[in-house]
Structure formats: C-alpha cells, structure tokens
C-alpha cells in the first residue's frame, strides 16, 4: 500500500479494514506481543464462519480489534474474564473468537453498521477516538 493511497483513506471503517490487508496478520502472529497467549485466548483469527469472514487481532491500545466482512465489531472485556459484543449484550464468551462467532449467529444477513464499532463510547469516555 502506498503512502498517498493511505492519505486518501478517510473513514474509520476503511482505515481499520486496511490494517488487516496484506501481510499485517502474518506479521502480528510472529511478534512477541501477539504470541501464544493471545492466540490461545482466541484473540488472533481469520476464518470464514457461516458465510462471513471474521478477523481478529490484538489492538494497539489493548483488547482485540475484530472485523466481520471487513467492518469493525466492538468486542468488550467483562469482569468475569469473558467478552461480549454489541450484537448480544447478555452473553459473555470465553474468547474474542467465540464472542465474534456468537455475534454472527445473531446477525442475520445484514452487514454491520458504524454503531457496532463505536458503541459504548459515551462523551468523554472514548479510548480510540472513534466517536464522531
């Protein structure tokens, strides 16, 4: 990916999706921070699930960045050690991968919206600056 092209990318959606292209996932998999513990917790994945491409990798600020068909899905950590998504607020899953599959189970056929990426971000509480 060339620098000028990168400048042209405007939306969070596109930026996040771009970070997953090329060898990004492969590189992360061999770095120490993205090592065995993260993979074992289901934090790094790239697979087809029920017709959807689901991808996950450790986020720079901690936690896991997840995409469903290239669109960001906010996976949140819970005090019980599990993870939940804005698609299903009432079930925590043991890993980000399980939470993502659980979300796909409930999604139906519609693509994710921008709210799936920015949810839970009330004024003054944004860790990622995604709240427009």
């Amino acid at each position: 990916m060339t620098f000028p092209r990168r400048l042209a990318l405007r939306s969070l959606l596109t930026l996040t999706a771009a970070a997953f292209t090329g060898g990004a996932l492969a590189r992360i998999a061999v770095t120490p921070r993205g090592g065995a513990a993260v993979r074992a917790s289901g934090g790094t994945f790239d697979e087809m699930y029920r017709g959807r491409r689901i991808q996950g990798r450790p986020a720079p600020a901690g936690g896991t960045e997840v995409l469903v068909d290239g669109r960001p899905l906010h996976v949140m950590r819970c005090a019980d050690g599990g993870f939940l998504t804005p698609i299903d607020h009432y079930q925590t899953y043991p890993t980000p991968l399980a939470a993502t599959r659980g979300a796909v189970d409930e999604l139906g056929s519609a693509p994710l919206s921008r709210f799936a990426a920015a949810h839970g971000v009330h004024p003054g509480g944004s860790p990622r600056g995604v709240h427009a």
Binding site: C78, H89, T92, P111, S113, F115
Partner: protein, 288 residues
C-alpha cells in the same frame, strides 16, 4: 399530582391506541432515535476499565429510571394522558399474550430474517424504520422464546428470590457481585446454558432480535420491560425502607472500581442527576 403507570394488560383499547400513537409521533419527529443513541452510547462492559453508568453497575436502576422519565416526558408532551405501561413478564409470559397483538406491540419476527411483520412497528407500515442499530438492517426484529435454543421468561418465584435480597448492591459493584438486589435483578449469573441469563437480562434474551443488543431501545417493548424492572425496584424500596443506594461514597484510589462506578451523590451522564435524586419517584408517578 402524580400520574399512574398501568399494567399493559389492563389498558383499554383506547389507551393502547394513544400510547402507540404517541410513540409513533416521537419516532416521526426524530425524538425517539435520540433515546436509541443514548442507550447505545452508554453501554460499557465491566472489564473495560472505564466508567459504567447504565449496565453492569450500581446505577443500572437509577440510570434507567431517569431514562424512562425522560422518555415519558416526551410522550406526555405529545399526549398528556399517556404514561409508560409495564409488562409483568412473570404473568404475560408467552407469545400469545395480548401484549403482542396487532394494535399494540405487534407480533414475533418471521422465521427467515426475524422481521416483525405485524402491528404498528412493522417496517412495511412505513412508520418504523430502524436508523441506529448494530447492523444496517432497517426493520424491527424479534425471536420470541429463542426457538433454536429455547428460553422461558422469569417466573414469579425467581423474582421473589431476588426481592429477598436486603442490600442494594455489593462490591465489586459489577456483573460479578455475588449478592445484592441490583445485580440479582439485572440478572448476571455464572453457570451453564440458560442459567446464566436471569431476570432483566433473560427478558432481553427471550424477546431476541434487536432487544438482544445495544440498540434494544428500537423495540418499543423495551420501555414496557424497563417500566416493570423499575416497578420491581420500587416495591423493593417499599419493603426495605432503610436500604439506601450503594456505594454511598466513591471507591477510593487503589480500589479496582475507582472512577468506574457512580456513588450515591455523584452525577450520572448524560443528565447530571445523582442516584440519590432518583430514589423517590412518588411525587412524579406511581404504579397501579
């Protein structure tokens, strides 16, 4: 003078019609979707290291009390005779309940895509388009009873068990609090299968579709559900007149919940009211 919130099963045909009309008017003017956004923006899970006001936190109950009051105030601007009815799901516990009839909430979602096809909130009627949700789907969805993994609504006995709690909330003030009225009513529990989903959480899961996620306010039954949750809190307050909101003071520096939860006299976003200010609703409304 205080107004009354009634059991939805006791509403007359005219009262049902007026409630639906007021809700549709708020939707038409865009006011309704502001409430959808507010709920979406205030869902923070309890492992995220951020302030939680609306869920997985002691202020779950006062936050939703204020949220309902704000909605009800908008409804009553449209029609001063309307209030938010409540859905006693221990009693009206099946898809055959009149709650889901065509002149009120409308029915279940269809099998293929869970789209609600009947009633005033069916997308085809032209007055209920979903604008703020976690997917780009534009129609209301429901999956009553979750047939592929069936779940039942909470029973009277299960609710009574929660009512026997004597303390409002306990540390660590989140979804793992082992006792306390708030977490028992909110419905977080350990265990296997459907045992994990209790009381308030279980109702969201039983309705399914949009009610399952952050955009649950898109289903008008959200208000009737939370009106009943608020009634349960109100009855618990009457039974336990000495049981104040906890924590009384903010968790101190060094506590894992420092700046993560709202104490009795701290403001709740987005309104700035405190839990203490939401404790007594008797001057505004009462439950029939």
């Amino acid at each position: 003078m205080a107004y009354t919130r009634k059991n939805q099963r006791d509403l007359t045909g005219a009262e049902r019609k007026k409630f639906v009309a007021a809700v549709l008017e708020l939707k038409r003017t865009g006011v309704y979707d502001r409430f959808v956004r507010t709920h979406i923006e205030h869902y923070t899970a309890d492992g995220e290291g951020k302030l939680r006001v609306a869920h997985m936190a002691p202020s779950f109950l006062p936050w939703h009390r204020k949220f309902l009051l704000e909605f009800e105030r908008e409804l009553r601007r449209v029609d001063p005779t309307v209030s938010v009815p409540y859905w006693d799901w221990t009693r009206d516990n099946s898809p055959a309940s009149s709650l889901w009839s065509d002149d009120f909430m409308g029915g279940n979602g269809r099998r293929s895509d869970l789209q609600v096809m009947t009633g005033p909130f069916a997308h085809a009627g032209g007055r209920w388009t979903i604008n703020h949700a976690m997917t780009e789907g534009r129609f209301l969805t429901r999956d009553l009873g979750r047939p592929r993994d069936p779940i039942t609504l909470p029973t009277q006995a299960q609710l009574e068990e929660v009512m026997r709690e004597r303390t409002y909330d306990v540390a660590p003030w989140n979804s793992t609090s082992a006792s306390g009225f708030r977490n028992r009513l909110e419905g977080w529990a350990a265990g296997q299968g459907n045992e994990r989903f209790r009381i308030h959480n279980r109702v969201h899961r039983w309705v399914g579709g949009l009610m399952l996620g952050g955009a649950s306010v898109n289903d008008p039954v959200f208000w009737l559900h939370h009106s009943f949750v608020d009634l349960v809190w109100s009855r618990w307050q009457q039974r336990n007149p000495g049981a104040a909101y906890l924590p009384a003071e903010p968790p101190p520096l060094g506590d894992a919940q420092y700046r993560k939860v709202v104490a009795r006299h701290q403001p709740m976003t987005p309104w700035g009211v405190t839990p203490a200010e939401m404790f007594d609703h008797s001057a505004i409304y009462r439950y029939a």
